[in-house]
């Protein structure tokens, strides 16, 4: 078997700065949004600032929630049954609530950093960053599914989902960092502080809406609990 020889001139592969703030091309669509988020995140920031695409933020929000719900099906597959729809619903709801809770502080912290932006732009950047996190979680979904079929340990799967979510969040938060760079800000300590707040809110949300990975008789828990206490109990084998 022989393969015809192709000319050995290497095809030029694109090399670029990840945050080139330039206009987006083409009609706004979910596919274009996802592709731009992955390849040219700077363009999303540019469009949100220029306000040329009013639906961009809404698409980002919709895709972020849909992505979280899709990953939620994998999360719910450990327990199966009702959890197959409860986990996606809780993940999407928890994500939405966390974003709404943290949006005002993100706006304030952004302004404190000397960046002149409207709340609409900040909201769009937050939705886009969560959308990027959700996209990465969908990439992790086959791995998470394989593990969820192989173990009954809620603590193990909870830890694994947490690891994937943190990786997704770290990539997503780079977009928020891009927002400050777009306006020439160099001081990022405030945004890092906000990122910690967002992180803590999301973690607490998983406890507020528990159980997400395991199963329960009730949709929501009756007892209020701090997330560290809940984790300690889960690791100790208490449900």
């Amino acid at each position: 078997m022989t393969t015809p020889n192709t000319p050995s001139t290497p095809a030029p592969l694109p090399k670029r700065d990840r945050f080139q703030f330039e206009p987006m091309n083409g009609e706004t669509s979910p596919l274009l949004l996802l592709e731009t988020l992955l390849k040219h995140p700077g363009r999303i920031i540019h469009e949100l600032h220029s306000d040329r695409r009013p639906t961009l933020a809404l698409w980002s929000l919709g895709l972020a929630l849909a992505g979280m719900a899709i990953y939620g099906v994998v999360v719910g597959s450990l327990s199966g049954g009702m959890q197959l729809w409860i986990a996606p619903a809780k993940l999407a709801l928890g994500t939405l609530l966390s974003m709404l809770i943290c949006l005002p502080s993100l706006y304030i912290f952004t302004c404190l950093g000397g960046i002149d932006v409207r709340i609409r732009t900040v909201a769009g950047a937050l939705f886009a960053s969560v959308c990027l996190s959700a996209l990465l979680l969908i990439g992790f979904a086959p791995v998470a599914w394989i593990f969820s079929q192989s173990t009954d340990s809620v603590a193990f799967m909870g830890g694994l989902h947490l690891l994937f979510w943190i990786i997704g969040l770290l990539f997503g938060l780079r977009l928020i960092g891009g927002l400050s760079r777009f306006r020439g800000a160099t001081e990022s300590a405030r945004l890092k502080t906000w990122a910690l707040i967002f992180f803590a809110v999301c973690l607490q949300m998983t406890t507020t809406l528990r159980p997400i990975v395991g199963r329960s008789e009730h949709f929501l828990p009756g007892e209020k609990k701090f997330f560290l206490a809940h984790w300690a109990e889960s690791l100790g084998g208490k449900k």
């Binding site: 393969t3 592969l13 193990f156």
Partner: protein, 228 residues
């Protein structure tokens, strides 16, 4: 094909990067064939210590493990490459990883005669030194597979460095792919066990309950037994 495989072994980054942009699936199919033959042949020698039937099973499962890992992580690896600023499409990412596994398959296939020689000198299952035989087989294959993996990933790194022009980006992408592939691959290997075949257990394609437990829990249990 021979010329291409030689270039792949040489790690000729200029030539290899041109293959990434090629349309069609011919080169992908070739890589899959190389993985099937190379790692299948090596898998045959892995199971041979236990029994001929086990060697047939392992010859099927070894390439299956590689291909399932590639398929399961294709989306994730593509997303990671793009997020980390690497200009490869999903298809090009999958092809690059497939080529790296094809190289692993070539190396393992070439090590099969050595593996057979080790087997010839290993105490057989029927001897009094069964535990020693099992340990030698296990350690030999861990060593060979680790060598093949390290060589293939060094080649992949050189190629990534050539494509990205940035050492740091190439290294980040490589380690992110390795992390994902290790995570999924180790669990798939757990599900597809046994490969060598424990002396005290029956020969079977998969264990009775392959989805019971996972690799990391087993490692955790082993560590607990060891230290506590």
């Amino acid at each position: 094909m021979k010329r291409r495989l030689r270039a792949l072994l040489r790690g000729d980054a200029d030539e290899i990067s041109a293959w990434l942009a090629e349309p069609g699936i011919r080169w992908d199919a070739t890589c899959i064939l190389v993985i099937l033959l190379g790692s299948g042949l090596y898998g045959f020698t892995v199971g041979l210590w236990r029994a001929p039937l086990q060697s047939l099973y392992t010859a099927l499962k070894f390439p299956l493990l590689i291909l399932l890992t590639c398929a399961g992580n294709a989306l994730l690896n593509g997303i990671l490459a793009q997020l980390l600023g690497f200009g490869l499409s999903f298809r090009q990412t999958s092809r690059a990883i497939l080529m790296s596994f094809a190289l692993t398959g070539l190396i393992l296939g070439a090590l099969s005669p050595v593996s057979l020689f080790v087997l010839y000198n290993t105490p057989p299952l029927s001897s009094n030194a069964t535990v020693l035989g099992h340990s030698i087989t296990l350690l030999t294959h861990v060593f060979f597979i680790a060598c093949a993996g390290i060589i293939a990933n060094r080649r992949l790194y050189r190629f990534l460095e050539k494509v990205s022009d940035h050492r740091r980006t190439a290294l980040t992408v490589l380690f992110s792919w390795l992390g994902g592939n290790f995570l999924l691959g180790s669990q798939l290997a757990w599900i597809l066990r046994p490969f060598i075949g424990s002396p005290g257990l029956a020969i079977e394609f998969l264990r009775e309950d392959p989805l019971r437990g996972n690799f990391y829990e087993a490692v955790g249990r082993a560590l607990r037994h060891l230290f506590f």
